[in-house]
């Protein structure tokens, strides 16, 4: 599998994503620069975490109009698998590839910690190796991870099974205490109607080796 990992000015998890895919999972990963219009024949695209364009205006607002994103939108609309982690999720929302938006954490603090997320559906391009209801331990690190959408959109996401991950406690319950940032319905990740585009605030690429605290993140990249 040939992956394309996009680097925007201000991306900082692009190298981690490449390391995860190549060194840990033995797949091919190539770098795509934000000015590239050519996706170089990749089979899947990763929008990594970081602070693209300094998070100016709104997180992901400027990146969304970069040349590479025009191609990523076309790729996604043709059914190509695209995953956005953290800032990548914010970019996907700004680009209109995923519904909703991410706003400042309820606590106003930047949060860096391990959380538990429950897999709500295996029917996406990136969760096929997971069981519904399975709990993954993955870290988060963000200041703007509070997922919001209007009531109609939330209902649509719930009814169509487009909520992919929810923050839960150790026994798998989506409680208020288990919600790190205030996200509506404890939403940690969503997908589009087709299931080929997935965005999530947690960082699966940081959870791929037991030495670094856990391997659950591998599950998102091992059967795409």
């Amino acid at each position: 599998m040939k992956w394309g990992v996009v680097t925007f000015p201000g991306s900082n998890d692009d190298r981690d994503a490449c390391y995860c895919l190549e060194t840990v999972l033995g797949q091919q990963a190539i770098s795509l620069w934000h000015k590239d219009r050519d996706l170089k024949g990749v089979d899947a695209v990763v929008l990594p975490g970081g602070f693209s364009y300094g998070d100016y205006l709104r997180c992901g607002a400027i990146a969304r109009f970069s040349p590479v994103m025009q191609s990523v939108v076309e790729f996604a609309e043709a059914g190509g698998p695209v995953i956005g982690m953290c800032n990548g999720f914010q970019i996907l929302c700004e680009a209109g590839l995923l519904p909703g938006a991410l706003v400042r954490n309820r606590s106003l603090s930047f949060i860096c910690e391990w959380v538990r997320i429950r897999v709500e559906t295996p029917r996406t391009a990136f969760t096929a190796s997971c069981r519904q209801g399975e709990i993954l331990r993955i870290p988060i690190k963000h200041g703007e991870g509070f997922y919001v959408a209007d009531e109609a959109t939330l209902k649509m996401l719930e009814d169509n099974g487009q909520v992919v991950f929810r923050y839960v406690n150790e026994v798998g319950e989506a409680t208020e205490a288990a919600n790190p940032n205030g996200a509506l319905h404890n939403i940690a990740g969503v997908t589009n109607a087709r299931g080929n585009v997935v965005g999530l605030m947690p960082h699966p690429e940081h959870a791929v080796e037991s030495l670094l605290g856990g391997e659950d993140g591998r599950r998102l990249f091992c059967r795409v």
Binding site: A61, A101, F146, G182
Partner: protein
């Protein structure tokens, strides 16, 4: 010509920054403060357009980039400089 663009969080969106500011004002004994919403103010300088054209262009800029209509409302005024 100058467009003064105001972007505010939608009423339905929780605004934790505004809430923190309101709490701080209460701590300073401004008990009359019932709510604070925090947004953004932008000055966009334009040239070579009529006032009406400028209004249309700025409206489009707000919808496409300056505001995210999922979470924000906007309004603007065009002033001669």
């Amino acid at each position: 010509m100058l467009a003064k663009v105001y972007i505010t969080p939608k009423k339905a969106i929780l605004d934790p920054q505004g809430k923190a500011i309101a709490n701080s004002l209460h701590a300073l004994n401004y008990a009359e403060v019932s709510d604070v919403r925090m947004g953004k103010y932008l000055e966009v300088r334009l040239s070579g357009l009529s006032r009406m054209q400028a209004g249309q262009r700025v409206e489009e800029m707000c919808r496409r980039l300056l505001a995210n209509l999922v979470i924000e409302d906007f309004y603007f005024e065009i002033v001669e400089e």
